[in-house]
Symmetry: C2
Subunit: 239 residues, 2 copies
């Protein structure tokens, strides 16, 4: 009998992206701490759209041309010079962001997003939209690539743990012969589903804790606060 299940793979770093086929896949961009968490929160809270851009200069230039827009982004975990806002989901409550365009540049997440050229769809994943994302992936029935934004191309725990949480939900519905995916599921099991506690022993948690961002990370590690599936439409991320 032919196995007709779609295939699921995990790419652990943008530096490994060239090893995977993205053509005709649904590629999920994952940057738990914090770009994709922020994108999901801002859109669920009413942002008109999020425009991901590669550089701070591009962010500033675009902000000057789009009415009712906000320039935001971080470099090395801090608000980049010349931008108005940072990369924290807590900065974008409904009262502030509703109807606005968020122009965002980050160290890792937006970069990976721009590297994927030929996917059938590019969607945004984070714990904040875990179940909604899984339901979407199941409904599409296409091959899936879970793309971890990592930290400056180095493997990170939080994105891989999230990939494991996704695979745990999807298991059985996809063909999976990918050691990165297996490792992600092992990490998921090691976490016992307690994502925040598990991630407290990670490089990025320690890095962002030095900026007193513990509450931010607790928020980012909470499943299903924002049940939307943002996707890239042209140059804009929308829901």
């Amino acid at each position: 009998m032919v196995n007709e299940k779609p295939k699921l793979e995990v790419c652990l770093s943008p530096a490994l992206l060239h090893l995977y086929h993205t053509r005709d896949t649904v590629t999920v961009i994952i940057d738990v701490f914090r770009a994709t968490s922020t994108i999901v929160a801002a859109l669920d809270n009413g942002a008109k759209c999020v425009i991901p851009v590669a550089s701070v200069a591009e962010c500033i230039a675009l902000g000057a041309t789009i009415p009712n827009s906000i320039t935001a982004g971080e470099r090395d975990g801090k608000i980049a010079e010349g931008l108005q806002h940072g990369n924290s989901p807590s900065e974008y409550p409904t009262a502030f962001i509703k109807g606005k365009t968020l122009i965002l540049t980050t160290t890792n997440g937006t970069r990976l997003l721009h590297m994927v050229k030929d996917a059938s769809a590019i969607v945004i994943g984070s714990f904040l939209n875990l179940d909604a994302l899984c339901a979407y992936l199941l409904s599409k029935g296409k091959n899936v690539l879970l793309g971890c934004a990592s930290w400056k191309d180095k493997f990170n725990l939080e994105d891989t743990l999230f990939a494991g949480a996704v695979i745990h939900q999807l298991s059985g519905s996809f063909e999976m012969n990918c050691d990165s995916a297996r490792a992600a599921v092992h990490l998921y099991h090691q976490s016992g589903g307690n994502y925040l506690e598990f991630l407290k022993d990670s490089s990025h948690y320690k890095r962002l804790s030095a900026y007193n961002l513990q509450e931010d990370m607790a928020y980012c590690a909470t499943p299903n606060l924002h049940p939307v599936v943002p996707y890239l439409r042209g140059t804009e991320i929308v829901i």
Copy 2:
């Protein structure tokens, strides 16, 4: 108080090697299935030395110039055309290999070894020499990079699991702020120390099983059968 412990990191793929400092580190080359297992076994069984080479052509050419030498290597898990022997530890018992020079080329392990240029020492790691390797790393007191050969640059479970087993033994003696190392330790814990069973659900185990190499892999997953620490001296690996 200044933390004076040496640093330990894990590189999950040759494609990520450029992100790590190898200068003045002890870099451990790990290719559990099967290059580094074969190197350790052949040297402990009396091989004069192992010469790792990048290409099949180089292997054949060098074999023609070195008396009492054997050309060996695999491509995609099979003996490469033009070479005499494969990449199985079982092919090199004492009665056969004693006093001979083994010229070896493999898909992943020998490639990674040639990529490391400035390490203080390049040594060979596998389950077969786990405890001896750990004792060596402790005795040196230098920074350590555990380099996983992976599979054509893709993350693999077996090399990362071995890295986790090493770190589990060394824990406390090294400074470790590396998510790849943390993930490796999580995999080690998930395995419960039963390496072979754990690795049966891995891409490479499935790939090599198709060539009926299960016994080979069981051997490679057995700790401490060959308590030696091979290292690169010039162009030769010796003990």
